[in-house]
Amino acid sequence: MSEREESADNYLSMELLRFTTAGSVDDGKSTLIGRLMYDTKTIFEDQLEAVERTSRQRGDERVDLALLTDGLRAEREQGITIDVAYRYFATPRRKFIIADTPGHIQYTRNMVTGASTANLAIILVDARNGVIEQTCRHSFIASLLQIEHVVVAVNKMDLVEWSEERFEQIVADYKNFASRLRIPQITFIPISALHGDNVVNPSPNTPWYKGPSLLYHLETVYIGPDANHVDCRFPVQCVIRPHSDRWHDFRGYAGRVAGGVFKPGDEVVVLPSGFTSRIKAIHAGEQTLEEAFHPHSCVITLEDDIDISRGDMLVKPNNQPHVEQEIDAMLCWFSDKRRLQAGDKVLLRHTTREVKAIIKQVHYKVDVNTLHKVENEPELKLNEIGRVRIRVASPLFVDEYVRNRITGSLILVDPFTNETLAGGMIRLP
């Protein structure tokens, strides 16, 4: 049986891993992604032909796998990647979603975007250059966005004669620097994206390396505990009222579980009203569920008739989120048209709520290359990250971002241009 046929059989029980890739220009990120897709047979004949044609037209000596992932015309013209692009491939074990983000300083925004939904980050290092400023920046963002697993892929090992010593030096440098960050798991892999060493199969060129190939690691890394199954949080998206004869009295609350496990019979508290009731049933289409947890989308009905609308949250009486009108957040600023300063008025989106907000204070910003706090410039510009105090017009039901990525995250929106200005990770004052 070929790998592909086997994957068709296993398909209904496959897991999903979302990862992001970061590296500075020319570290080999596009080549690596092209290689992963090529070696897992995700690339189709017509795509390969298109790439071969382009490589020939440009006079390249071999097919440039990087072209496979190189999206839009503007980028092709400039020869650089400028936005987050999503790619897909599957092996018999897992389906993968890659958020492919560029590594330029001006594109911190893209990296934050890609990292926001990732379980794992691959950070590329050129074996010749070792740990550089950009490596630190990428790692800082991975830790800020609470990515559980980081893979440091030391690329272009062929250009340093597959030197174990060089590899170990890079590992030591990285560990030294990463001790200042909060990254739960770091894995180091020596690779050559161009030649395929240790990408899918173990390489004969690195007999001293005993770890897994990159793909094997991606297929087997344990992603179970990434979701929060402890703190019950159900932000209501909308109310389902059929108004039909058959479902005359049906009143259900639709949403996606953001944390914890909900079961029929559970006592729940509705925020902000504080009313309590019990769960009557949990529906997913025509089916009823015995329990619902993240990331289930479902409809919950309650025993009592309570006034509940979009933006409310169902939680458990003995485990409630913080109800706050003033929060702190680590913000990444995305706008090139305006800066963020104390006194600014914006809209804030958190779970299914949108509220008016005012910036009380910019505590500090972080120099993403040195990780130093900068306290004497109380404003944020494009691609800057800083800690900010925000006051909102009506209370939010929040958890710290480290505890729950969904109830701990927010975006800021410009009330006039409607542009998305910033993404933020909540920290309690």
């Binding site: 999503y86 925004r109 975007t113 479902w247 496990v261 025509e286 989308s297 990525r405 409607n418």
Partner: protein, 303 residues
């Protein structure tokens, strides 16, 4: 604390994500519309919408941009499916746009109405006052789509600017806009062709017969097998033959090719997709015109 039963399969993840997106559309927009072509992706979206709002009816109007070059089977299926969901179907006709002089028909043997659809669609969105159009497009279909957002903002000319898209983080979608602008929303963004087929199988979703192998008259044109229908003129030198074929997409009959296949049921199709060496769009003559064909059309406001 970890519990084996808390793991979810990727299909469950994709389904719950798509349902979440559909509910956000309903909550954030005044007048959303679901673009429905009778193809498998839009059927999937319609099925997900049914689940998302059950036991309410699907709260969206369905809009079909009809090129006038559809396969009769697709239209029959479309009407039956929408009728069964109890939804309202609106048809925007490219022929009407041509007749009223809004667009000019391409000429020549490979003339296609694909590019013309854009104008008809934008006119229909404006006439209906629709502020969000839900589509079944997936990021894996084509390079230019890889950067598309779930909530894709269009200016008041309906255009897409790849350099000026809103950042989309976590599951926080920003659907705010100025009057005259609209959004395209793609709940299947993270699905692949394989995911769609597996989901159709899991949910036992009905499909038009064109997707399954059948005998029909075809001609070979530019390396693609084209069905001989009333919309396609056979050229001199082309030979018409009978072949057992199926379609991987069921769009415009003038530019959608079929492939020789004996895949008569979903399991056969899944095996075939798993072994495929050509992308779905590889059978679409309109994408072959240039390497950046899709990107150029998208900027103009294509799906």
């Amino acid at each position: 604390m970890m519990h084996r039963s808390y793991s979810v399969t990727h299909l469950e993840q994709l389904e719950s994500e798509a349902i979440y997106v559909l509910r956000e559309v309903w909550a954030q927009f005044e007048k959303p519309v679901l673009l429905f072509s009778g193809g498998k992706d839009s059927i999937c979206v319609a099925h997900l919408a049914r689940k998302a709002f059950w036991p309410s009816r699907v709260p969206f109007v369905f809009l079909h941009v009809d090129t006038g070059h559809n396969f009769a089977e697709t239209l029959t299926f479309r009407d039956a499916y929408v009728g069964q969901l109890g939804a309202r179907l609106e048809v925007a006709s490219v022929q009407a746009s041509i007749d009223s002089g809004r667009v000019v028909e391409e000429r020549g043997p490979n003339a296609s109405r694909n590019a013309l659809q854009t104008v008809t669609l934008l006119d229909a969105l404006e006439a209906g006052g629709y502020d969000a159009a839900i589509g079944g497009a997936r990021r894996d279909e084509e390079k230019a789509r890889a950067k598309e957002r779930f909530f894709s903002h269009r200016d008041d000319f309906g255009q897409w600017d790849p350099k000026n898209q809103r950042a989309e983080l976590w599951n926080l979608f920003n659907g705010r806009m100025h009057p005259g602008e609209h959004f395209r929303v793609f709940p299947l963004s993270n699905w692949t062709e394989m995911d769609v087929w597996q989901y159709i199988k899991r949910e036992q979703i009905p499909l038009p017969g064109l997707y399954f192998s059948h005998w029909r008259k075809v001609v070979e044109r530019g390396g693609t097998l084209m069905a001989v229908t009333e919309h396609l003129t056979v050229q001199e030198g082309e030979t018409v033959r009978e072949a057992e074929v199926r379609f991987r997409t069921v769009g415009d009959a003038t530019c959608t090719g079929c492939t020789e296949s004996r895949a008569a049921n979903l399991d056969d199709i899944i095996a075939e997709v798993a072994a495929a060496r050509q992308t779905e769009r590889g059978t679409r003559a309109d994408d072959r015109r240039s390497e950046t064909a899709m990107e150029d059309r998208k900027k103009q406001g294509y799906f």
